[in-house]
């Protein structure tokens, strides 16, 4: 097991350096001179140019620049945003809880609906219920979520007036709390109605962001369950006369969950990509919207930093899933 973990960690290291190389290359690959680009459209004087070049190390040879960049990363220095003049890491950390809160809600919703739906479909294989569920799942899987979000806004926000159109919190409240999770901070603040407002702002973005993972989880659960339901031990459990719920829920689902958990772990990338669209549409102040805004503001330092952190998050999650999977499944571990 230790050898397995070590070998996975060993493949992590070159990938990590590769990712830093990609984010390092990003600013240098932009057409035009990086400093003129960073300075924006107002233009820049020669002295200021030289000063910036020296400050950012652009007067150094490329390999030196890369080593400086790497050294900065290990000290948590991802550069300073050119628009807000704040450290990129601080900006990221300030916005990350919003994305995390939304993602946690979305994945929870996806799991709570997706797994039971997959199990029910598998148990009723071929029947109407199975077909209806799987058709719905395929529609969800094929959904352009930016359009889905607009439809939900048309129906629930402007049509029925049930949910707000954008943001995290009604302007009536000012919540600044220890966790950065608006729902929790609202509860802690004790302001009446704040929690309700936070939840109502969460509903539509959560549904939109959960759609594709939900479809994937339902499909994966169904196919994993079908595989397990054909196994001998399930037949034995059934032959022993155990109640169907116990057989399906306990014997089968527990074993079918292994691939499902993998899929859940691997959907972090999907979630973050979905967060880009969801947050942009709902003006959700998280890192997805921040990345898009930064690209449009030509705040390339911010884009570079965000790119690196997001990739590292995805890598760490994938690595963890990989190791957990190996821990559960000896066949993988000893390969």
């Amino acid at each position: 097991m230790l050898r397995f973990v070590l070998s996975r960690l060993l493949t992590f290291v070159p990938t990590f350096f590769g990712v830093t190389l990609v984010s390092f290359a990003f600013i240098r690959l932009l057409p035009g001179d990086p400093i003129t680009l960073l300075a924006g459209e107002r233009g820049i004087s020669q002295e200021r140019y030289d000063e910036l070049a020296a400050q950012l190390g652009f007067d150094q040879p490329l390999w030196m620049q890369y080593f400086d960049y790497l050294a900065g990363i290990f000290q948590g220095d991802l550069g300073v945003s050119f628009v807000t003049k704040r450290p990129v890491l601080d900006e990221f950390m300030a916005l990350f809880p919003a994305t995390l809160e939304l993602s946690i809600c979305a994945i929870t919703l996806a799991v709570l609906i997706g797994i039971p739906a997959g199990v029910i479909a598998a148990v009723n294989r071929g029947k109407f219920f199975d077909q209806a569920l799987m058709t719905t799942a395929l529609i969800g899987y094929s959904m352009p979520i930016f359009w889905w979000a607009l439809l939900l806004i048309i129906v629930f926000s402007s049509g029925l007036g049930w949910t707000p159109v954008s943001g995290r919190m009604s302007l009536m409240f000012f919540i600044e709390g220890p966790t950065g999770f608006m729902t929790i901070d609202a509860l802690l603040s004790g302001q009446e109605g704040a929690f309700k407002s936070a939840v109502s702002h969460l509903i539509l973005p959560t549904i939109v962001l959960a759609t594709i993972p939900l479809a994937i989880i339902a499909r994966q659960t169904r196919s994993a369950m079908l595989e397990v339901l054909g196994e001998d031990y399930v037949r034995t459990a059934r032959a022993k006369g155990l109640a169907p719920l116990r057989v399906n829920g306990f014997h089968a689902l527990r074993n079918a969950l292994i691939p499902v958990v993998t899929v859940i772990g691997l959907s972090v990338g999907t979630l973050l990509a979905g967060a880009i669209l969801t947050e942009t549409i709902f003006s959700w102040p998280g890192i997805g919207k921040w990345m898009v805004d930064s690209i449009f503001r030509r705040d390339y330092q911010a884009v570079q930093g965000g790119l690196l952190i997001i990739a590292v998050i995805v890598m760490i999650v994938n690595l963890t899933v990989d190791i957990l999977y190996g821990a559960i499944n000896p066949k993988i571990r000893n390969r």
Partner: protein, 302 residues
């Protein structure tokens, strides 16, 4: 002479059923897949014959008919069955031309990603260990970035245009083909028929691309079909974010972005382009599922 012809007759009788017929028999069992194929064929025809089918050019403006609702709503005109957009352009004509863009995007992106992915994958599968490791680590690096984010950043580097969006999406999709091809190649490489070909004196390239590759095609074809829908979705998402096709191109995602501010006043300008994306992507995914079940019994969802 008669011996020879009877021998041929026997071979024909014993010949295995053609793989294409086998495939079709398995494929047509799946009602959803057939339905998907019919819709996809329609979509293809619309894309090809767009200039003939569409009543007006996609950028023709009717200044006296801004935001006309669809014909079944109050104020709708038969002249514009699905209404007009804020600039007075016919929705039907724009949507029909949009099919062209989506199909073109899907085709080009999948061709490019499949071609490079398969070639690199075959090379990795046959390469010495160090080269294989380098290739796969590079693919890991590309896959560490969420696809849409990577595409966005690439477009930021290349500049926002439809072509650059396509290049970006192809780059993002291509590692999947590399992984898939490599895995298939590695499992085929040690089979007896490969050894036989090598003993018979086949060169390295011939073994790679003529002997082994054809036996790895099933999962690649399935992946290509599913990537077609991913390409359409991602291109639409980039268009929606303003990083893909630029207005006034009648690309479905770009149309949605242009229509966004009218969402409360004119539901049709938002609803129809998205519906087109959904139906097209759904049809392709249905077909892809059917392809997988028919081509690759091992992966069968059963």
């Amino acid at each position: 002479m008669s011996d020879a012809s009877s021998a041929t007759a026997r071979t024909i009788a014993q010949a295995p059923p053609s793989p294409i017929r086998d495939f079709w028999n398995a494929f047509k069992e799946n009602r959803g897949a057939v339905m998907g194929m019919v819709v996809f064929a329609l979509f293809l025809l619309i894309a090809i014959f767009a200039p003939i089918l569409s009543p007006y050019p996609p950028d023709a403006q009717f200044r006296d008919s801004l935001l006309v609702p669809p014909v079944w709503e109050d104020g709708g005109k038969w002249q514009f069955p699905l209404g007009t957009d804020p600039l007075g352009r016919d929705m039907v004509s724009r949507l029909i031309h949009g099919a062209r863009f989506s199909f073109f995007i899907g085709l080009v992106v999948v061709t490019v990603a499949t071609f490079f992915g398969v070639v690199i994958g075959v090379i990795a599968g046959f390469a010495p260990r160090w080269l294989d490791t380098i290739i796969m680590r590079i693919m890991d690096i590309v896959l560490s970035f969420p696809s849409l984010l990577m595409a966005l950043v690439l477009v930021a580097i290349l500049g926002p245009s439809l072509l650059n969006a396509m290049v970006a999406i192809a780059i993002v999709l291509q590692p999947h083909f590399v992984r898939l091809t490599r895995a298939a190649v590695i499992s085929e490489r040690t089979r007896d028929y490969v050894t036989a070909a090598r003993v018979a004196g086949a060169g390295r390239l011939r073994i790679m691309f003529r002997t082994v590759l054809p036996n790895c095609l099933a999962p690649i074809i399935v992946q290509a079909a599913l990537s077609f829908s991913t390409a359409i979705l991602d291109a639409a998402a980039l268009g929606f974010l303003g990083m893909g096709a630029q207005p006034p191109t009648p690309e479905w995602g770009t149309m949605l972005a242009e229509a966004r501010e009218f969402i409360l006043r004119a539901w049709w300008v938002v609803t129809f382009p998205g519906l087109c994306i959904l139906v097209t992507v759904l049809a392709i995914n249905l077909m892809g599922d059917g392809l997988r079940d028919a081509l690759d019994p091992k992966l069968k969802r059963s």
